[in-house]
Amino acid sequence: MVKHKSIRKEIWRKIKGDIVLVLCLAGIIITLVSLAALLFDAIQQGLPWLDIQFLTSFASRRPEQAGILVALFGSVWVVGLTAFISFPLGVGAALYLEEYAPQNRFTSFIQLNIANLAGVPSIVYGILGLGLFVEALALGRSILAGALTLSLLILPVIIIVSREAIRSVPAADREGAYALGATHWQVARKIVLPQALPGMLTGTILALSRAIGEAAPMIAIAALVYVPFTPTGPLDRFTVMPIQIYNWVNQPQSEFRGLAAAGILVLLAVLLAMNSIAIYIRNRYQMRGR
């Protein structure tokens, strides 16, 4: 009788394990299938439109003449400038919080709020940017205003990732440097920063690849307008790829769906390139480590 019971228990345990396995498998299959369907749809609709003409033309009312050049330039400008602004700020803030800030309530209050800011919807940042940069600071609907807004959006993420990277530097390395007579700043600059940099860069690039796909805050800053020239400086007007795609999707003619799909493919290619760079940087520096 006892033995019988234990066999049943054994079988039930095995069934439970199988159920979990099936659920996990279903999860990954659903994710992959929907991603593949999306990609397939975009390729099927977009590929016929994706040619040199599409990449080198301005937006147009006539679908066969329309292209993504201005939006592509705009996205590269905005994201480049965002990187330039947010990386030093984020790393500086992380370094301060990890290495210099006193451990008191005020510091933990700041840390809690940074974590909260990372969860604020992006449209809120767009409205803040509109009020602060476009109007109060009179930067207008410029690339600079857009980049500053996106910097605010991704700063919390960069700070959090950078702090993780700083924390992963072994305490033994810091002690070793202190024991040789290094000052606090020398330890931070010569031991902590070089070892934390790959992690910081990877996190920043991933945050930037989120920023390049943002439509909501950019619509607030740049507005849905036709920009007839490629930007040449940070104070120029601009549009970005997500806005252009959104614009095309809203057009009545069905040809514009194809253009939107082609735009998505270009955006995905840029994203993929950025993520590849992040992976390359991580692997390259990991080999030099322990």
Partner: protein, 254 residues
Amino acid sequence: MVVKKAKIDIQDLNVWFGSKHVIKNISMGIKPKAVTAVMGPSGCGKTTLIRAINRLNELIRGSKTTGEIYIDKEAIYSKDTDVFDLRRRVGMVFQKPNPFPKSIYDNIAFGPKLHKMVDEEDLDTIVERSLKGGALWDEVKNRLNDNAFSLSGGQQQRLCIARALAVEPDIILMDEPCSALDPASTSKIETLIRELGEKYTVIIVTHNLQQAARVSDLTAFMYVGELVEYDSTKRLFEKPESELAEEYITGKFG
């Protein structure tokens, strides 16, 4: 035991971590150009004692130190002490080898560069001299640009010793430097410690009795934060005065 003409003179030293009283009223002199071993069971404060000598305990939040330590009659806990220069003069080797993730050359050059001790042309000389001092030169002279992690554990520890020598200290603290190493590497480092004892004032923390007996001239025995006995190594091992030390040496606890 009273050490005449002590290089380091520890006076009424107390260390707390938070509310934990780790070092209790220790006074002792450290003999110049000799090897002093500090031994005792785990958690007795050996490591904290030597980390008081280069003021490394300060890096731990909530630590508090009272009393005074004199090095060459200079009070190191006084307000005018330059902690960074103190740590240059008092080198330290840790329990686990901790080379920086840099080349062998850059590991040695790190300290001299911090203290602006050289222009670039001298640096090669310093690196060679330090690696010879750490008994590692012959093994690495053809691969100075290799990553320090390509070395074996024992070699890494000798690299750390060489790194400490590069900033020209006159005191070297060693915190159980062989505890993470195999017997062959251990014996190489013990030979090196004996050699270093002729030129430098060496203090080595160990819980290995045989090691203390092999490498040191003087031995201090600590128990729960107190200095129980301090004598020449020979005397302490042959005729310990306190019961605690005798029991520890004969292996009744540890």
